[in-house]
């Protein structure tokens, strides 16, 4: 058969009608030329026939696939002929590493299965964090598998090869070297990493005209500034809660999310529990304008305007000096002040006055003065050099950088793991300035707002796939070691800086070892290094204490402008927005608000009444200079009347699907000079209503004693009920798993909730499904208020499955999908469940969760890779709930049987228990009289939730402690 000629194959072209510009432009001349040049391609141009089309497609696919490849690193692959020692397929392996937040490290252990990190545990041997974790550590494993992560370098938003990026950077650096680095600016996030600092200092030494700036959305600048006010030099402040008999917190944040939480919360509660054993209460007095976890936990909480905090500190100082207490405040304020002053006076040298990272420098300085006056400095308060590089230098701040950018003296800007386009204070106008920079490079985890405006973007390696180091709050150097090969070939800041330095691409391990080789004991580097990797930190590297000069009392600051005080706070779950693409954190109820997937504007009940604003209405906060933020109002009990709290971290325009398009951007309203507060604001109703999603709609105890309060030293207020039953008592259990949750130790931090989610493959369902009441958390933290909304007492109560011995759910199930095992666990057999939901209807605690839709199917492969292989992934139509981490119990049971022994007390640690920074959860065998959980059950604080229902729960509670005198209710 003869192929028809190209011309015959084509429909006759009319000059009036054309289908595309190409067609119109393809003149006979051009066609002839093309035929001469590409004789074999011409038939394709004329509309390929079927065979040619298939050929073309096959070739395109094959070439397209090839083109997408990056060359794999040349490494030998050797099959395991013999298994490496200690490696059992399918068994978990733990690696010590650390989690860095805002430049500060906490020790972690990374649990990996067959080379996949799946769960973060605390590192018990870490000298600072001591096995405690927080939500950010727990959730960081999901960031590794984030499908929205930046996966390749990009030039002006288009994919580029890594080689092209390196070439461009090296070339640029070569040009800069001639001028001594003039015009080069490096902007990093806050860092305490000794090796990175050394790397950067080395670069700056080689390029004397270059400058290094640091931008931290949640910074320690106020802290250092306060120390400068008091001591003349910026210092780090470290509190020794373990030695404090009394804590007074002036807008303190030691229990709040942040890098300090894991270390401080545990130490304070340990002291408090020791105090209970001594028969007294280690009281916490707190004053705050906007409620926080710290103020929620206070025994004496004062709701006070933000502008009054400094005056409060001054009044306290005056009272301790024997004065009358400074300017007069309200009656409630005076009462709080008097009580705190008396208590402080009674425990000089053994007390602690604390404040938080968001407090004004003057407050910090006054707190230093207070601690010095009380003799606490050196006893319960220690000072060291600042942990974070350049955080205390004004010229190295973002303000310095923008000034230089405005002057046009910045030609090259390298941004390492920062997102200033989003997180810079709005008044700096960073984004347009960035556009004027000739060469800008952004190293970041996501293609975020800054990446979109840079000439170059490079993917950042996740800490779980890279080498590095950082200091913990006490200065202990903690090592970051990879547990998996980089999924997308990102680099670390240190690697990029090394490349800039001499154009040589080096790996992170080499850089890290090169730095530490000189600093570890000579001769035995290999041993010391191995030891450090095993433990996760370099022992003995805590920063030495420095005796500060006498604290100066700062002059009174100018009072803020009249009007409402805008107070900025990091979002309790997505933090400064850098965690906003983590769906675990997005769906984690904010501890006090219980909202998810959104940020709100917190206003006081008084303001709400005055301006007739209801929760959920969209309001606009307008500052004196005309800036405004629009967001949904949330009437927050315990908020000071004139305080309006804006939460950072939302209103993202980039950075992944999960992060984008939620809430409002509070950074726009922030000022560089006073990042945490602005006076003279007002709020305006817009008449619109937002759909806010909350996981808890009612917050009042209504006279019930779900959360019980116990005064130290008093006997148990209730005798245990007699268990009446028509049925014969069951035989005693040889092993009876039980859990006791100490409500006094629970600070409501949510670490357990995220840990449970990570351990048990609990899916996130999105804002809409949560709004429909279908959140899947197996463990929830109920938050109740007691007392007037203006100054309520706040209670937290974690509620997992109660594992009732007489479980109502088991009666209802028609197919026996929920039943008891021989150790008293209330099991849920997923593959037997048909989904009648009767068990949940019958459950008085409503702890069961149902897969109303297919929440786990169709997830990206990377998300599937995160899943814990020991836990079934549940499909649509199946009920699920807390199992007491039955997979961990099974592990222990098998190990014990293999070794021919009983399971040791404490051998089984549930995920929630392991995550808790304050060790509030005790778990073990109730039948063993020596077990910790048995011990907890004997406490006079012990009680059972809804005991009158006679369900005989295995999960029980220890009542909250309260001061002997009546609560300081306002």
């Amino acid at each position: 058969m003869r192929q028809p000629s190209p011309a015959a194959n084509r429909p006759p072209r009319s000059r009036e009608q054309w289908r595309s510009l190409d067609e119109l432009g393809l003149t006979a001349d051009a066609e002839a030329e093309l035929t001469a040049e590409f004789p074999s391609a011409m038939p394709l141009l004329n509309g390929p026939d079927r065979r040619a089309f298939l050929r073309l497609m096959a070739a395109s696919l094959a070439l397209g696939g090839l083109g997408g490849c990056e060359p794999e690193p040349a490494e030998e692959i050797v099959p395991f002929v013999r298994d490496p020692a200690g490696w059992v397929p399918g068994a978990p392996l733990l690696y010590a590493s650390c989690h860095v937040q805002d430049g500060i490290a906490n020790g972690v252990l990374v649990r990996t299965f067959d080379g996949r990190p799946v769960k973060i545990e605390g590192n018990p041997s870490h000298p600072w964090s001591r096995g405690a974790t927080d939500i950010f550590m727990q959730a960081s494993v999901l960031d590794l598998y984030d499908p929205d992560r930046s996966q390749a370098a990009a030039r002006l938003g288009r994919l580029a090869s890594r080689q092209a990026l390196e070439n461009a950077l090296v070339e640029r650096m070569a040009g800069l070297r001639a001028s001594g680095g003039r015009g080069l600016r490096i902007l990093t996030g806050p860092t305490s990493s000794p090796s990175l600092i050394a790397e950067l200092e080395g670069l700056l030494a080689a390029l004397p005209e270059a400058r290094w700036h640091v931008h931290a959305p949640i910074d320690r600048g106020q802290l250092y500034e306060g120390a400068r006010l008091a001591f003349g030099t910026p210092l780090e402040t470290r509190y020794a809660f373990e030695r404090a008999d009394l804590v007074v917190s002036l807008d303190g944040d030691f229990l709040d999310p942040g890098p300090q939480q894991a270390g401080y919360a545990g130490r304070w509660l340990e002291r408090r529990r020791r105090g209970e054993a001594e028969g007294r209460l280690i009281e916490l007095h707190a004053a705050a304008a906007t409620p926080s976890l710290t103020s929620a936990k206070a025994d004496h909480n004062l709701v006070v305007e933000d502008r009054r905090i400094e005056a409060l500190a001054r009044a306290l100082l005056a009272r301790l000096d024997g004065g009358s207490g400074g300017e007069p405040g309200s009656e409630v304020e005076a009462a709080w002040l008097a009580r705190a002053a008396v208590a402080l006076d009674a425990s000089r040298g053994r007390s602690l006055v604390v404040t938080g990272a968001t407090s004004a420098p003057a407050t910090h300085a006054l707190v230093h003065a207070l601690n010095a006056r009380l003799g606490n400095t050196g006893a319960t308060v220690a000072h060291t050099d600042p942990l974070l590089a350049r955080a205390a230098e004004p010229e190295a701040s973002l303000v310095g950088l923008t000034r230089a950018m405005a002057e046009g003296s910045v030609t090259t800007l390298i941004m390492l793991d920062v997102n200033p386009v989003y997180a810079a204070p709005g008044e700096l106008g960073f984004a347009p300035l960035l556009d004027r920079v000739e060469f800008s490079l952004h190293l970041g985890a996501h293609p975020d707002e800054t990446a979109a405006r840079c000439t170059w973007h490079a993917p950042l390696a996740h800490p779980l796939e890279s080498w590095g180091d950082a200091r913990a709050l006490d200065g202990t150097v903690s090592l970051i070691q990879p547990t998996v090969r980089p999924l997308y070939g990102g680099s670390t800041p240190a690697e990029l800086v090394a490349l800039m330095r001499d154009g040589q691409s080096r790996d992170g391990l080499g850089l890290l070892q090169a730095y530490w080789r000189d600093r570890l004991p000579a001769g035995r580097f290999e041993d010391a290094w191995r030891e450090a990797l095993v433990s996760g930190f370099l022992a003995g590297t805590a920063l030495p204490e420095r005796a500060p000069p006498p604290a100066r009392v700062p002059d009174a600051s100018a009072p803020p402008a009249e009007g409402l005080d805008v107070v900025f706070r990091p979002d309790p779950t997505v933090w400064d927005g850098s965690r906003a693409n983590n769906s675990w954190l997005q769906e984690l109820p904010k501890p006090l608000l219980k909202t998810v997937w959104d940020n709100v504007i917190a206003i006081s009940p008084a303001l709400a009444r005055e301006q007739a604003i209801a929760t959920g209405e969209i309001i606009e906060v307008v500052t004196a200079d005309g800036g405004g933020a629009r967001g949904a109002a949330w009437v927050l009990p315990g908020q000071a009347p004139a305080a309006v709290t804006l939460y950072l971290g939302y209103g993202r325009a980039g950075g992944g699907q999960t992060a984008q398009g939620r809430g409002y951007d509070a950074f726009q309203l922030r000022s560089a000079e006073s990042p945490w507060r602005r006076g003279g604001a007002s709020v305006r109703k817009t008449g619109e209503v937002a759909t806010l999603v909350t996981t808890q709609e009612l917050h009042r105890l209504d006279g019930h004693d779900f959360v019980r309060v116990h005064t130290v030293g008093e006997p148990a207020h209730e005798e245990p009920h007699e268990h009446l039953s028509l049925y014969p008592e069951p035989k005693p259990w040889p092993r009876a798993w039980a859990m006791a949750i100490d409500l006094d130790s629970c600070i409501g931090c949510n670490a357990c909730v995220v840990a449970c989610q990570a351990e048990n493959n609990i899916p996130t369902v999105g804002a809409e499904q949560v709004g429909l009441g279908r959140d899947m958390h197996w463990l929830r933290i109920d938050r109740y208020y007691e007392g007037p909304p203006e100054a309520p007492v706040t209670h937290f109560q974690p509620v997992p499955c109660m594992h009732c011995e007489q479980a109502p759910c088991e009666v209802g199930c028609p197919v026996e999908a929920t039943l008891h095992d021989h150790e008293g666990l209330n099991l849920q057999v997923y593959n037997r469940c048909v989904g009648t939901r009767t068990c949940s209807s019958y459950c008085p605690y409503k702890v069961r969760r149902f897969n109303y839709l297919d929440y786990t199917g169709g997830k990206p492969p990377s998300i599937q890779a995160q899943r814990n292989i020991e836990v079934t992934v549940r499909g649509r139509g199946v009920m699920e709930k807390c199992t007491y981490c039955v997979q961990r119990i099974a592990h222990a049971r098998i190990n014990a049987r293999q070794e021919g022994r009983e399971i040791r007390d404490g051998e089984v640690e549930t995920a929630c228990q392991g995550a808790c920074p304050t060790r509030a959860i005790t778990f073990g065998n109730l039948s063993d009289p020596a077990s910790a959980v048995h011990e907890a059950r004997r406490s006079e604080r012990h009680y059972t939730l809804l005991e009158e229902l006679n369900t005989r729960p295995r999960t029980t509670y220890l009542a909250k402690l309260a001061p002997a005198e009546p609560e300081g209710k306002a």
């Binding site: 917050h699 009042r700 279908r774 209807s841 605690y845 969760r849 109303y852 649509r876 009920m879």
Partner: protein
């Protein structure tokens, strides 16, 4: 004629009426053996009012289509397309299930219980009441199946030998319920079909076309009306009736126990099973009245379904309604008297909570609306009874909503509270199930004798035999 020969005579005697007068009340005066047969078979064989029927049938078929679409989407996506959540794990699915099964209660009660009690006035009502029961029970039985998270495993709820060596969990009220419904459904079907046999034979004999003769002939199972046939038939019918009566109680007690076996406030009470039975009879009679009045109007059979029937239905409605109202009252009283705080909170929630409209809807539709039935004039008015019955049907739906949603949305821990609102698919499924009911009801009206021909004929012939003439 010294002793009353038939039960009807006995009844007439009790009501101090001459037997003829009594009969006239429940069978129009002009009706004879022949007219009864002709009147009813004409409807089945000649289809009067064809056009009207077609319009109604098209509407019902559209709703049935909606049902099919709803179920298709449900099976594809999961029960999450409804508004159910945690804690309100049961929403429209169980509300409508209980509502339908309640309606499905009356037919068997009318047929079986009144047959045993020899209440001949039932003869004009029992056929369509039974059909209604059967269809309502089918509508009800669909819900427990489709409400499952994994409906393809529905049979795990049934005791059957299997390779997993697993039985259902017999302590579960769901098992009792599933068993009760299944038995009830099968028995109702048998009772209904056996009752139809003589009428099928009549239709077979009177049908003009060959195909109709064949179809009705097959359905009549060779019925020839011999004395032996009748004797056997009477035995079978009486036995089934005796079996059916306890089932009327067990089905709805089972539904009551579905709630009572839990610990939830408002559910955990022993009054629930009888209370549910009364409510069921109440709603069932309301729907029987609706159907009776509609058919009477549509097919002009006032002489078969007489004003006296309407009056009786109204009386039963009033009686069961008062019993149900007593239940409402007792629930409130016991909550107050028992002093249990969660129970009290629940009752306050019913009276003034977010779903208080359902409680006040119940009071208005089920208690207040039936009070006019104390007056004979209202009872005899078909229109009034129609409206009141409609109100009761709606009211009983409110009651199911109230019982299920108010308890679940806020039980013990206030932290778990979550509100429930049905979605489009909830409504679509509900409307669809109504479509299913109506479609088959219309088919029944069209192709089967809607009134028991032979039983009414018997009344007419008895009258002729006794009185000779009017």
């Amino acid at each position: 004629m010294t002793t009353p020969a038939s039960p009807a005579d006995a009844l007439a005697a009790r009501e101090k009426l001459p037997p003829e007068e009594f009969r006239r009340r429940y069978l129009g005066g002009d009706q004879t053996y022949e007219t009864v047969t002709a009147g009813i078979t004409t409807i089945t064989l000649d289809h009067p009012g064809q056009q009207r029927w077609l319009i109604f049938f098209a509407c019902s078929l559209a709703l049935l289509g909606l049902f099919v679409v709803s179920l298709g989407y449900l099976f594809l996506a999961g029960v999450g397309i409804w508004g159910n959540n945690i804690p309100v794990t049961w929403g429209f699915d169980i509300i409508n299930y209980v509502w339908w099964i309640g309606i499905g209660n009356a037919g068997t009660l009318i047929s079986a219980l009144l047959l045993i009690l020899r209440q001949t006035w039932r003869n004009a009502l029992n056929r369509f009441a039974e059909t209604m029961t059967l269809l309502a029970a089918v509508c009800a039985a669909i819900y427990p199946l489709i409400h499952l998270g994994r409906p393809w495993y529905f049979y795990w709820n049934l005791p059957y030998p299997n390779s997993m060596l697993l039985w259902p969990q017999f302590r579960s009220p769901l098992i009792w319920d599933a068993t009760a419904i299944l038995v009830y459904l099968l028995l109702s079907l048998m009772f209904w079909y056996i009752g139809l046999l003589p009428d099928f034979a009549t239709l077979r004999d009177r049908a003009q076309s060959r195909r109709k003769r064949q179809v009705y002939g097959i359905l009549a199972l060779g019925w020839r009306g011999t004395a032996l046939h009748w004797a056997r038939w009477r035995q079978a019918y009486a036995i089934l009736a005796a079996l059916a009566v306890p089932l009327v109680v067990s089905v709805h007690s089972g539904v009551g126990l579905l709630f009572a076996a839990s610990l939830e406030p408002g559910w955990h009470t022993t009054v629930l099973p009888p209370f549910f039975v009364f409510g069921a009879v109440f709603s069932g009679f309301a729907v029987v009245s609706l159907i009776a009045i509609t058919l009477r109007q549509a097919f002009n059979i006032r002489e078969l379904v007489t004003d006296a029937h309407i009056d009786l239905l109204a009386k039963v409605l009033l009686g069961t309604g008062l019993a149900t109202a007593y239940g409402y009252l007792m629930e409130l009283f016991i909550a107050w008297y028992g002093g249990e705080p969660f129970e009290q909170a629940l009752m306050l929630d019913r009276l003034g909570g977010a779903y208080a409209w359902s409680f006040w809807g119940v009071i208005l539709c089920n208690v207040v609306a039936i009070q006019p039935l104390w007056f004979a004039a209202v009872r005899r008015s078909a229109l009034a009874l129609f409206l009141i019955s409609l109100s009761v049907a709606v009211g009983m739906w409110f009651e199911r909503f109230m019982i299920i949603v108010i308890t679940l949305h806020r039980d013990f821990l206030p932290s778990s509270t979550h509100f429930y609102w049905p979605t489009f698919w909830d409504w679509a499924t509900f409307a669809g199930s109504v479509g299913l009911f109506l479609t088959f009801m219309l088919l029944f009206v069209r192709y089967l004798p809607m009134i028991s021909i032979f039983e009414v004929r018997e009344m007419a012939s008895e009258r002729e035999a006794k009185g000779g003439s009017r």
